[in-house]
Symmetry: C2
């Protein structure tokens, strides 16, 4: 067996040995059941450290090239030629694949589109320490399967946290999920059968709509007013359409940024309780409150346990950590836990435990404070510049928290796509409003997020935004004039 | 505002301040919009470090007790009374919750039931280092949302790894999932409509059955023979029942431990290709091969891309890490990626990146070697003791890998439950075979797993197993005699 090692190559020596032997096996120069030289012999022959050969052999064994009988004798294994790629199977040829929803926001210099928090503020050092702490204490346990409902310590911390937000709950009434998205998916899969009616706000969280389609829900849209969901319309819908579920996002609504009043929440809940309809409250970024009195969540007013509350820690702590949760009646948590076990065997206990450590160390509260300071200033900057521009025909409300500002352009003669493209070619990414509507919207709208840009960048982005919108609206003005 | 701190308490000082102030707010001694003393003032008054008060205030703010206007002035917020828990909502009162499948294996002294690998072998130190390495290099990125298909480096490593197993694939044809379980769920949700026929082996992976039920599949059971799925029966089923999907686990089949031959795989694939039926190959613990020639996966023989391969890294690396994957035609990966985004926004990039680092450092190969040594010995020990006992009426095959040994007791007059209970009361946990059958089984069977017990424990457990089985079978012998 002839091997040539290049000590100056960037490829590690063990890798060179591995690759050259695998080539000899692939090429048939080494035959099945043929024995490889013992590691010590080969190491001496090649003038390398024995551990280098051991590693090369172990990689070959893991790759199925050789059968390693606990290190002693190592033999080449029987193998087959590759399957060469030919025409796809008949069941595949029908139809081309659907495209994965592209999120191009990050590609442009000024990203007012993306909702995920600013990586420049990510608490990386804290997470590194939290992970090291829990791995040191509970490592072996945390690499194994977790508790069906999720890490008990984290659920206890969350229950404590929610109780301080007036949600009367204990760890048994919480289920940890792979982000709020999986929480919504589990709730709909458990509760909705094809044809069941589900009430959603219009506009609403765009990612809710494909989940509803997947379970075959019959979606009933109730328009958003400046106070939140149109309650007169809701009560008619409850009476006439007999929905089984109402989905709402009362705080920092995505996309409109609206936060409903306490009385609005009480009336909404009273209507749903009277109709005995389940309510899914998407807590979203409830924690991102910058000013004004704290309006308690619907779940805090929930006298009859009709509210299923969906929350998330990862949205602010780090969305990639995928730590959402459901707070609900034990019967609901029971059913959702079983479904979560069936469909994904639950979340990663290591991340859940590290999140607990992160919170336990007080880093969650401290990090929230930091985010609040930054995002409050960013939002104020954007609002100040838009106020100063006083664009005719552009409407928006002042959110009391969250990341979002929602612009509606009732008289725009330019289409949403034209506006989004004009802004994109000027370097500013925004979200067109259409995707947030369960049915075609009456008016053109744009969603702006302040999550990704600092105040300086927002200042520049806002200037571009203002000039592009002014042109478009001036133009539409002319058009109105030309065609009365 | 009167606070009393106990310096000798185990409760941290910041926490004592937080708790006492929140009590004052809850009790109404501190009223909405009332201002709290500045941090410096309170710190001096209490004789504590100012940072202690800052932390207490920031926790109060995060909990919604106070509104913190960037640290300067801190005010008590408006709040509501708790919702007291009364009767559950009408939509809840119908029916009691389903129970979450209990897995009591761990509770007994000798656990031959649990499949998850032995925590005593978990590569905790390696994982701590891998996590630290990737957090240091890509921390901020890894706390954010990941790529829709999962970490590119890990997919490239996997593609390389699979190519060495003769699966001709690149990173674009891979989707990372939250464990193999989510992979199966995504495939079924994408491919199966209510009423579609799906062929499964009988017995099969128990956790596959609820997934099939959830999508409304019409399950067609094809019995397992000692060579694997009964191909004569399969070809009849393909012709007469027109299934859209065939699920198979050709290596170290769960629960039977059977590994099919290359010719069996070729014939199974030829049948499915001729019928133009998609095949889901559950790779399960393919890596856990102890002896004999390496039989290539079905996917390696897949001339027409009709095989969707489901694999997992976490089953051996640490099941709690939830890192599974799908290898399939780009159109399939495309559709599954979209569904994964819709339903959970994908997996945790931090764990995927750390898994890549773990593999890249050569630790996966080394860890596999270690597991092989241990599990091979455990399996050999169990087989040696059962062989020596030569129990009449107990059949089993010698697996060439994996964790499982499948005992069938064709003539047992004792029921499965009686046997499982008898063993449990003697301290040995095993899995009854019934749960692995899509339809009531013809014979009593028990599944033994060697994953959790070392050789010493297996020796004791096997002794108990043998004596309990011998009693039962002797008894059933009498019964046969009494009732000819």
């Amino acid at each position: 067996m002839l091997l040539n090692l290049d000590c100056h190559s960037s490829t590690p020596l063990y890798r060179q040995i591995h690759d050259q032997i695998s080539v000899l096996i692939d090429g048939g120069q080494l035959l099945p059941d043929q024995q490889l030289p013992p590691t010590r012999t080969l190491a001496q022959r090649l003038g390398v450290n024995r551990s280098t050969v051991v590693r090369a052999y172990s990689e070959l064994a893991a790759a199925g090239y050789v059968a390693s009988l606990s290190g002693s004798s190592v033999r080449v294994r029987q193998r087959l030629p590759f399957a060469n790629r030919t025409a796809a199977a008949g069941w595949l040829q029908a139809g081309s694949p659907p495209s994965v929803a592209a999120d191009s926001g990050g590609a442009l210099p000024f990203d007012l589109a993306t909702l995920a928090p600013d990586p420049r503020l990510a608490p990386v050092a804290e997470w590194r320490r939290a992970l090291a702490q829990v791995l040191a204490r509970r490592g072996a346990e945390l690499l194994g399967y977790g508790e069906p409902q999720g890490d008990l310590r984290l659920r206890q911390w969350l229950a404590d946290y929610l109780r301080r937000h007036r949600i009367d709950i204990d760890a048994e009434q919480l289920l940890l999920t792979n982000g709020a998205q999986q929480a919504l998916d589990l709730i709909l899969r458990w509760r909705i059968r094809p044809g069941d009616r589900v009430v959603v706000e219009s506009p609403t969280y765009a990612q809710l709509l494909p989940l509803l389609a997947a379970v075959g829900a019959d979606v009933v849209a109730v328009p958003m007013t400046v106070e939140g969901m149109d309650l007169a319309r809701l009560s008619t819908v409850l009476a006439e359409r007999k929905p089984v579920l109402v989905c709402t996002m009362p705080s920092f609504h995505n996309p409109t940024g609206i936060t409903t009043s306490q009385s609005h929440r009480e009336r909404l809940l009273a209507l749903c309780d009277a109709a005995q309809v389940m309510v899914v409250e998407d807590g979203f970024v409830e924690e991102m409150k910058y000013a004004g009195p704290a309006v308690p969540p619907l779940k805090a007013l929930d006298q009859h346990q009709s509210v299923v509350y969906v929350g998330t820690l990862s949205k602010v702590m780090g969305p990639g950590l995928r730590i959402g949760y459901v707070a609900a009646h034990p019967a609901v948590i029971h059913a959702l836990t079983e479904l979560s076990q069936q469909t994904s065997l639950g979340g990663a206990p290591l991340l859940q435990a590290a999140a607990w450590q992160f919170c336990r160390n007080g880093w969650f509260a401290a990090y929230l404070q930091r985010l609040h300071r930054h995002y409050r200033r960013r939002l104020q900057t954007l609002l100040r510049l838009l106020d100063a521009a006083a664009l005719p025909g552009v409407c928006y409300q002042r959110p009391s928290g969250g990341y979002l500002l929602w612009l509606t352009l009732p008289n725009s003669k330019k289409s949403e796509d034209e506006l989004v493209d004009a802004l994109a070619s000027a370097g500013v990414a925004v979200r067109g409003g259409r995707r947030f509507y369960p049915e075609p919207p009456a008016t053109v709208a744009l969603r702006l997020s302040i999550a990704r840009l600092d105040e300086g960048q927002i200042t520049t982005a806002a200037a571009i935004l203002v000039s592009v919108l002014r042109q478009s609206l001036a133009l539409s003005g002319e058009l109105t004039y030309e065609h009365p």
